[in-house]
Amino acid sequence: MKKGGYLDLFLTFARIGGFTFGGGYAMLPMLQKEVVENRNWATEEELLDYYAVGQCTPGVIAVNVATFIGHKEKGILGGIVATLGVIAPSFFIILLLAAVIRNFADNVYVAHALAGIRVAVAALVANAVMKLWKKSVKDILGIAIFVLVFLLSLIFSVSPIWVVVGAIVFGLLYGRFAPSRKGGAK
């Protein structure tokens, strides 16, 4: 199989989708491993950018990020292939459960396994956040933004859309009126 071909794209995202328990953020550690470290399809910074766009565009975040990375690698068809890859495993699993085992979620072993998986996801995402912090928070301004957004989101449940819009407006104003920053965002 050719690395970086359509089949590779599909299978990589199928692997990511098949082991993402609990929504878009739980996908982050898998993306860092498969997409950033193993295949160099995107950098950590780009992943963050995709999450930012995924937050304020419609649809499921995991799908949005898959479309983004597929599109970056292989254009429009790549975006579609990566998206189909990320949803394929859960599609077949749900189909099977809906058709055959309707009380799957009530099974006691499933419940215990899931409790364990939730702990692993918590540790994996905590680790992922530490990696992201190193790449995205580069100065006092970054720390201030992080702390402010963390508190606004945690305590006041401010919608992610407003956070993203606010950060963009602030970034544009800051770039316009404080041009002393060197090197740009890269």
Binding site: Y25, Y51, V119, A122, L124, I161, L172
Partner: protein, 197 residues
């Protein structure tokens, strides 16, 4: 036959207007339960339980499950499979189109100063959003808030085996950085069954 067109239309609408992740599709599913005879509200809680206990994006899981139920009611098992396919594709079509447009735009303007300025402050902000999500995940995995609120004392708040497992996994993934996340997930699932978490 027309039920399948309706199904596509309804899930396309949900995919177009549900902003910010899987649970944002819930209000649309409640509306569908109200409007059609495909499934009722009691099945919705089953759907959420199944979606949360299987891998994959929550919104997609819900669409597949709801689509199967609806198609099954109309035309048996083949109808269910077709319904699942149509509902799932309906849900993701709007966001795929929008993201491909945005991605094309960003590719063209990624060196533009306005875009780099915007992302410079956006990245720490999004890191904070993900950190909050992480905080919530840690809370549900390791704290037993209902038992604490019921007056069980401070010790009942902490789910000690889960906290120990978290610490072990976290140390392990920082010592052996090459190990794939799938391995940790599999180990934790086994530990969950053994320790009856």
């Amino acid at each position: 036959m027309e039920v399948f067109f309706l199904l596509f239309y309804e899930f396309f609408k949900a995919g177009l207007f549900a902003i910010g992740g899987g649970l944002a599709t819930l209000p649309f599913l409640y509306e569908m339960a109200d409007k059609y005879t495909w499934f009722d509200v009691s099945i919705l809680s089953d759907m959420i339980a199944i979606s949360e206990s299987t891998p994959g994006p929550l919104g997609v899981n819900m669409a597949t499950y709801a689509g199967y139920n609806c198609g099954h009611a109309a035309a048996g098992v083949p109808g269910g499979i077709l319904g699942a396919l149509i509902a799932t594709l309906g849900l993701i079509t709007p966001s795929v189109i929008i993201i491909i447009m945005v991605a094309g735009f960003l590719k063209k303007f990624q060196e533009n100063k306005l875009v780099t300025d915007a992302f410079y402050t956006l990245r720490p902000a999004v890191t904070a959003l993900i950190a909050v999500a992480c905080f919530t995940i840690i809370q549900t995995a390791m704290l037993n808030i209902p038992a604490f609120q019921a007056g069980g004392g401070l010790l009942t708040l902490f789910h000690i085996p889960a906290i120990l497992l978290f610490a072990l996994l976290f140390i392990a993934m920082n010592v052996w950085k090459k190990i794939h996340p799938i391995v940790f997930i599999a180990v934790a699932a086994a530990a969950g069954i053994l320790l009856q978490l």
